[in-house]
């Protein structure tokens, strides 16, 4: 253990502090009304068989059109399905809940970033190339 350098010790302490803070923030976010409503909305969409069927059809049509194998009727069918999906109450509730969760997360992230001295979420996104 005495082989652990001062830098490594500092990193271990830091990781413990950050890990603890991450768990505490995660726990506080989970029980927020916005997050509970968002999770409930996700479950409602998952339990909406008609919406799930529409989503499957949309994905199939999108794949067909992506590979250039579709025809004008497929485009129309896709637009109709998308409109039908967006009109479903479960999907509309999902969008509302997602927007409320987004506003909460952005407010929380502003506090984290201001305290840290660097933008947290803006710098935390993994790029496709490891940057």
């Amino acid at each position: 253990m005495d082989a652990i350098s001062a830098m490594e010790t500092s990193t271990l302490v830091y990781e413990t502090d950050v890990s603890r803070a991450v768990r505490a923030l995660g726990a506080a976010l989970k029980v927020s009304p916005e997050m509970e409503a968002f999770q409930a909305a996700i479950q409602s969409v998952n339990a909406d068989d008609a919406a799930q069927d529409m989503l499957r059809q949309i994905r199939t049509l999108q794949t067909t059109l992506y590979w250039g194998q579709g025809n004008p009727a497929d485009h129309s069918a896709l637009h109709e399905l998308q409109a039908g999906l967006e009109a479903r109450p479960s999907i509309q509730a999902y969008y509302r809940a997602e927007q409320a969760a987004r506003e909460l997360f952005q407010a929380v992230d502003a506090i984290v970033s201001e305290t840290a001295g660097v933008d947290f979420a803006a710098n935390a996104k993994r790029s496709c190339c490891g940057g």
Partner: protein
């Protein structure tokens, strides 16, 4: 939207622990060194102006001359190899990698993608 007191305290605690992080400290110090250096500042300003100007003209449909393209790459190379700027950019890439791991831990804890929800649309 104003988060609850509990959320605000938890967010501040994470911010404080991140601020004490060696990667954040290294980046902030490297950033301060760039900001305090006239040569680095001047190079960054020159590159930024050149980039904005060429991009605007290209978007407007103008054909850029080879000399202008060459100048762009020359200034970019000069900027990227300036020691203080290179040091800051390296510190930023290290910081991003570290913050991505912290955000991933938070996302795993929550069951939703934290960065996707927290970043402005």
């Amino acid at each position: 939207m104003k988060p609850s007191d509990e959320l605000e305290q938890a967010a501040q605690a994470l911010g404080q622990s991140l601020r004490a992080n060696e990667y954040v400290q290294a980046y902030l110090q490297a950033l301060a060194r760039v900001q305090a250096d006239p040569e680095a500042n001047s190079l960054e300003e020159r590159f930024s102006k050149l980039y904005d100007d060429l991009l605007a003209r290209q978007r407007a449909g103008e054909q850029l001359s080879q000399a202008e393209v060459d100048e762009f790459y020359a200034v970019r190379s000069q900027e990227q190899s300036q020691p203080l700027i290179a040091e800051r950019d390296f510190a930023l890439s290290q910081l991003k990698s570290n913050l991505a791991q912290v955000a991933l831990d938070l996302s795993n804890n929550l069951g939703v993608d934290y960065t996707a929800l927290a970043r402005p649309a």
